[in-house]
Amino acid sequence: MIYFDNAATSWPKPPGVAEAMVHFLNEVGANPGRAAHRRAIASGRILYDARETVGELFHAPDPLRLVFGKNVTEALNLALRGLLRPGDHVITSSVEHNSMMRPLRALERQSEPCSGSVQVTVVECSPQGVLDPADVEAAIQPDTKLVALNHASNVVGTLLPVAEVGAICRERDLLLLVDAAQTGGAYPIDVQADQIDLLAFTGHKSLGGPMGTGGLIMGQRVDEAQIEPLVRGGTGSRSEHEVQPDFLPDMYESGTPNVVGLAGLQVGACWVLERSVEAIRAHEVALAQALINGLRAIPSVTVYGTLDAELQTSTVSFNIAGMAPSEVGLRLDDEYGIMCRVGLHCAPTAHKTIGTFPDGTVRFGLSAFNTIDEVKTALVAVETLAQEAR
């Protein structure tokens, strides 16, 4: 059995992740930040440690400017819906996931009588998914407030030049929001050096945590007074007031947090830090290049993207001529025990960009836990299917 669906969610999780979650449920169990008994404090410490570890991974200087939520989608919604007002202009790319595109399209439709609506410019990437920073700069208008980019396409894995765009944003006094769903824990990210103002991350992919964990890191240039919370409610702080606290992270973390999940994320993120993102990246680059080369060597297989593993994540999209992606996926699972994802991957504009809309692609998403032997086995399976399709 080969698990190649890590771009959707990683499996297996690093050793100790499940154990930390079981430990929390059995031995800690209390609500953090509410009561002051020993277990409530132990729970609060787990939450804090997770904040600190994940913050360290992204070189965030202040762990209290890291807001946890249930996933990267929620984090992107918080950033976009919290920050953008009618009349604001935002620039995004043509390889965005629907987690970015749908909230933007919704904001675009919400019109105010005087100030109009949020305006969205989608900068086209090349058919390989490459974004030219100069195209972003050319799209800047006087009313541009934000540039919102996927760090890497979830379809073809192509990395976007976020640091270069970050430099442009600083120069033009714009904020940069980055969706790190596909890169957090698998590709080095330094929110300070890369000049990322808002980093949305998920816990359940390369950070090794469970589903239901994610969040948003807010840089020093971000004024939290300008970002409306998505949800308001109990925070355990300022209980005497009926209005939402105005300080981080409480103002965006209403309701009981997912400490059982964050206990797992804490261990997953520690595992990534111990191995180092650079070492994980080197392993994945080697696997991805072997996969790309092997697929390209099969006649009738088309591989999408830059074909250079250094320019992308370890997610590789391809098609077999004469066989629909859905059939390839079914047969890989049924006949070879290879699990992957086929279709549009929640990113229709990305598929339009690479020319695979509406049929989509077959996507192999590799992780730190995959091996070269698994890649070789999968290549034999794809070759066999490709021969049959001819």
Binding site: A36, A40, I41, R51, R238, S239, P249, D250
Partner: protein
């Protein structure tokens, strides 16, 4: 100064208190997290209790580490005679 004379440091929320506890521990200043005394705040959270003798050292350590405090209060002597 007799043992049992305490000062409490109040924060915006538990996350700040935990951060303060870590910073104080690193600086070798003993501390304990306790519920916020009712007469100081109606909040349901925790605060950090330190020896009164450590008050200024703690304040400086926390300020140097950039941990935002809400308030610092000396507690009445709660040692058992």
């Amino acid at each position: 100064m007799t043992p049992g004379e305490y000062t409490v440091v109040l924060f915006h929320s538990t996350s700040y208190a935990i951060r303060a506890e870590k910073v104080l521990h690193k600086a070798g200043i003993p501390s304990k997290m306790i519920p916020v005394p009712r007469h100081l705040s109606s909040d349901c959270g925790v605060c950090v209790r330190i020896e009164r003798a450590d008050r200024e050292a703690a304040r400086q350590t926390l300020e140097a580490a950039g941990v935002e405090l809400e308030d610092v209060h000396d507690l009445a002597d709660c040692s058992n005679p």
